[in-house]
């Protein structure tokens, strides 16, 4: 029995032992499955195969088990927490906060990103968690940052604007964007982005169109995506942020409408005709003009401001009607002086438009209004008028349109068009192009109205049109054309002797003013001095006749000297003429060198006509005037006196008694 029992027990024991071992095995297996395996990410990845870790996670601590972060929530074993506390991330072996703060990270091409600037209470109850940004909302990478989250925080349209720690509005471009070394070629000029970055008056938005699109508003319907009933919940922003951001991990985009940020690609969509209403109500004509389109008969080019992607609001600061533009606005981006260009362009267009209008009226009266040329001109007239910028939106295009239409209209009405002088008659002819003069770009856009300039040169009104285009001079033959240094840009580089190269040149040909509507009174008159042969002294011609003939050319430019000789000055009564004023002409004392344009010294002709004593007299005059004038100029700041002294110094020799009188009166 005992043996039987013993036998039975052994079997049972054996079975029990096997059973126990199996049980222990099961327990160990279960333990392995439930406790050890989840510590390996592969375990989770068997199902969550779309998730990839950032490589650096692995390097730091081997494979980080998912459950290190995704711990159980106390709501049953099957629910793993998707939300995680910052401590999980900032644990010592992972991303301790001090290491995160110490270094910056590169994110896109913006300024280096700093964690520490994002980890504080930005507004009441609103503090970012690691997972607020590293939220894997976008897809592959587990900690991928969703750009929309950045945009919502930075650009959300709130009543309480958010500020960075150094009190900058966090929507300001420079918070993220630093120095950009970008250049762009615009009609031969190089646009440099960095030049404008330093300019405080230029805003990014002046050029970068609608860089922020959307307001990030919260639509209540978004609540219903998660909550069945939201009406009884708290509506305070602080509370909502506390619940959704701090206590739970909710993507910003779940509640906020998303905001787009970035440069609008594919040219300026603002100007693209497909959806103009979305930008401004009725700016189609202006858009066309800026693009160099819309007119007839001339192939236009976009305005450089268009190519620079300039925003309308860059100039139209007037937020009421957008029509008033203060000229000074140009100087925000450009250097001083550009404000004048605006009014110049407008003046030019106004006068040309007036001319075109008159021509059109005449043309329609004389001809059939359906003449295609007239119709074309009318279309151009109307589009320029409709544009309303008076040329400013694309001055070159508008100028070309006007020139083209005016030329055509003149032909139709039979009015003479401008013709250039015969080639033999002009002195310098650097370019063969008949209709492009001057050939350089100065007058294309900036100095559009240069022909109307009334520059005072040596006390006289200098007329540009008689020199260019009429004499085919290029701007840079007389002016400095430094594109960079606006201090020197435009300054006269021509010297007196250069003027003399044309004006004093001896020639048998009579140089005449070519046709010019405003200069008809000069037709056929000598352009330069003098119209040789000179009438020599004692030639038998009456003195006054000889004098006036010899001086005709000189007086075109030097009439002020003649006035001085005649004592014929403003406010000086009685006249004090010089003795020589009666009979001596300019060319009796001022004789040309062999080079044909510079002059010999006068002194020798004093001696030639008179005697050696007059050479001494010449020296004495010169010395007296020079020393006195210099002395007074130093001691006197009165502008009238300075002007007078300037005259005395420059041509006081021509009337010594008058100069003496001036100097004496100053002495008193």
């Amino acid at each position: 029995m005992y043996a039987k029992v013993k036998e039975l027990n052994r079997k049972t024991t054996f079975r029990l032992m096997i059973f126990s071992l199996a049980a222990v095995g099961v327990v160990i297996f279960t333990f392995f499955i439930t406790v050890i395996r989840p510590n390996y990410p592969q375990y989770c990845a068997k199902c969550h195969d779309t998730i990839t870790f950032h490589n650096s996670c692995k390097k730091l601590s081997g494979d980080v088990p998912c459950i290190d972060c995704h711990t159980h929530e106390n709501r049953g074993t099957r629910v793993m927490a998707v939300e995680m506390r910052n401590e999980h991330c900032t644990a010592e072996p992972c991303h301790p906060f001090h290491t995160l703060s110490a270094k910056t990270s590169v994110y896109k091409s913006i300024k280096p990103f700093q964690h520490k600037t994002h980890m504080y209470e930005i507004t009441e109850n609103f503090k970012l968690k690691c997972t607020s940004c590293h939220s894997n909302l976008k897809g592959k990478k587990h900690f991928e940052i969703d750009e929309r989250t950045c945009n919502i925080c930075h650009f959300v349209n709130t009543q309480k604007p958010m500020y960075t720690q150094d009190k900058k509005p966090n929507a300001e471009c420079t918070v993220c964007h630093g120095h950009i070394e970008k250049t762009k070629e615009i009609y031969g000029k190089t646009f440099q982005h960095d030049v404008y970055e330093e300019n405080e008056k230029v805003h990014c938005a002046d050029c970068h169109f609608q860089a922020v699109q959307g307001y990030g508003e919260v639509d209540k319907r978004n609540c219903l995506q998660c909550h069945s009933n939201s009406s009884d919940k708290s509506q305070s922003t602080a509370d909502l942020h506390d619940i959704h951001i701090d206590k739970h991990k909710t993507a910003c985009t779940s509640c906020h409408a998303s905001i787009k940020h970035g440069t609008i690609q594919a040219k300026n969509t603002i100007y693209e005709g497909n959806n103009p209403e979305s930008i401004h109500g009725n700016t189609q004509v202006q858009n066309l003009i800026m693009m160099g389109q819309g007119g007839k008969g001339v192939k236009g080019e976009p305005d450089p401001m268009y190519l620079a992607t300039l925003n309308c609001s860059a100039c139209h600061k007037d937020e009421q009607s957008f029509t008033n533009v203060a000229p000074e606005v140009c100087n925000n981006c450009h250097t001083k002086g550009f404000d004048k260009i605006l009014s110049e362009q407008m003046d030019f267009t106004t006068s040309r438009m007036r001319l075109l209008k008159t021509l059109l009226i005449n043309a329609k009266r004389q001809h059939n209004a359906t003449d295609p040329i007239i119709q074309e001109a009318e279309v151009n007239y109307n589009i320029i008028r409709e544009d309303g910028s008076l040329g400013v939106h694309n001055i070159k295009y508008i100028k070309d349109l006007l020139d083209y239409s005016i030329r055509n209209a003149k032909q139709v009405t039979g009015q003479d068009t401008f013709s250039y002088p015969d080639k033999q008659e002009v002195i310098s002819r650097p370019s063969p192009d008949e209709h492009q003069f001057p050939a350089n770009t100065c007058i294309d856009r900036c100095h559009a109205n240069y022909m109307e300039y009334r520059t005072i040169y040596q006390g006289k009104i200098f007329r540009h049109n008689t020199h260019s285009p009429n004499q085919r001079l290029e701007c840079n033959q007389c002016h400095n054309n430094d594109p960079v240094n606006m201090e020197t840009h435009g300054r006269l580089i021509i010297q007196k002797k250069d003027c003399g190269a044309c004006h004093h040149k001896r020639t048998d040909k009579v140089l005449v003013h070519p046709l010019s509507s405003k200069d008809n009174e000069n037709l056929g008159k000598s352009l330069i001095s003098p119209n040789y042969p000179l009438l020599k002294k004692g030639s038998g011609a009456p003195a006054s006749e000889r004098k006036s003939l010899n001086e005709e050319g000189c007086l075109r430019c030097h009439a002020d000297v003649r006035d001085y000789i005649n004592g014929n000055l403003k406010n000086i009564i009685p006249k004090i003429p010089d003795w020589m004023s009666n009979a001596v002409s300019c060319t009796d004392c001022h004789k040309l060198e062999l080079n044909g344009y510079s002059f010999k010294t006068v002194r020798e002709y004093c001696i030639e006509c008179h005697n050696p004593d007059y050479g001494l007299l010449y020296d004495a005059w010169k010395e007296t005037l020079d020393s006195k004038a210099k002395q007074f100029r130093k001691n006197n700041i009165n502008r009238n006196i300075q002007d007078l002294l300037k005259q005395v110094q420059s041509h006081g020799m021509h009337n010594f008694r008058l100069s003496q009188m001036f100097l004496r009166s100053m002495e008193q």
Partner: protein, 297 residues
Amino acid sequence: MYPELVERGVKSPESERCGDCHRDIYHEWKNSPHARSFTSTAFKEETNDYQFTFCLGCHVPETIFTDNRVEPRKVNPAEGVNCNSCHLNDCKLSGPTPARGPHPISERNPFYKTSELCGKCHVSTFKAWQESGTSGNKKTCQDCHMPAIQRKLIQDDPWQKIYPKREGKQHVFSYWNLKDHTSLIMSFIKVIDSENTIEGTLEIENTSVPHSVPTGDYGYREVVVTIEIHDKTGHVINSQKESLFVEMSTALKYKEKRIIPFCFHCDEDEWIVKANMVRTSFHGDTDIPLAEVVYKP
């Protein structure tokens, strides 16, 4: 006696001292351009208030008897060209006539009858005179500018009572008193009246002024020939002017004839053409007539 009358330098005597005895000459000189050569407004202005000193040699000469440039006198500049300027020669008071007097005298000095004396200062006029040939009846400067006169050399009592009258020269130094109207001749060569246009030529001739008209080196010297057409009431209908200047090479030289053409439009039936030649000043306020001619059709 009176050795101070031949002093030079700072002791140079005033002309008034000479005038004590030579009263007539003194008064002639006092009204002559020589006495105004320093004080004239024009000279003052042109020399910048006498600062241009190189003019002073001739305008205030101490004595013209020097081989170099004439030097200015150190005293009495206001007297301009005074007695001693010309008459002090080699420490004696010199002259062309026989003379006796209480100061050192060098009498019968022929130099005083020559143009060269004047040429010491009036250089270019003298040169022109020299170049104008050597024909027998050519006049010297003195012939015209110092008209001859029969008188005593001194006028103070009692010495003048014993002084004989001789041919002397008036010290007027000017063409003011030129009474001779044959030296410069103007004549109309031809005058044609056709269809309200009067066209013609005027001839001007310097027959016997042995230098150019005008002449000289300094100051304003203009001679104007004016041709005028008058209606019967004497009103000037039209006129034409021609200026003569040395510097412009338009001065009328000795023995030179010049033709001046003229052309007037005239609707009147009765008219006369007048021409005159005047020495004018810069402001045209002191015209000295030199010649005149009238043409009546």
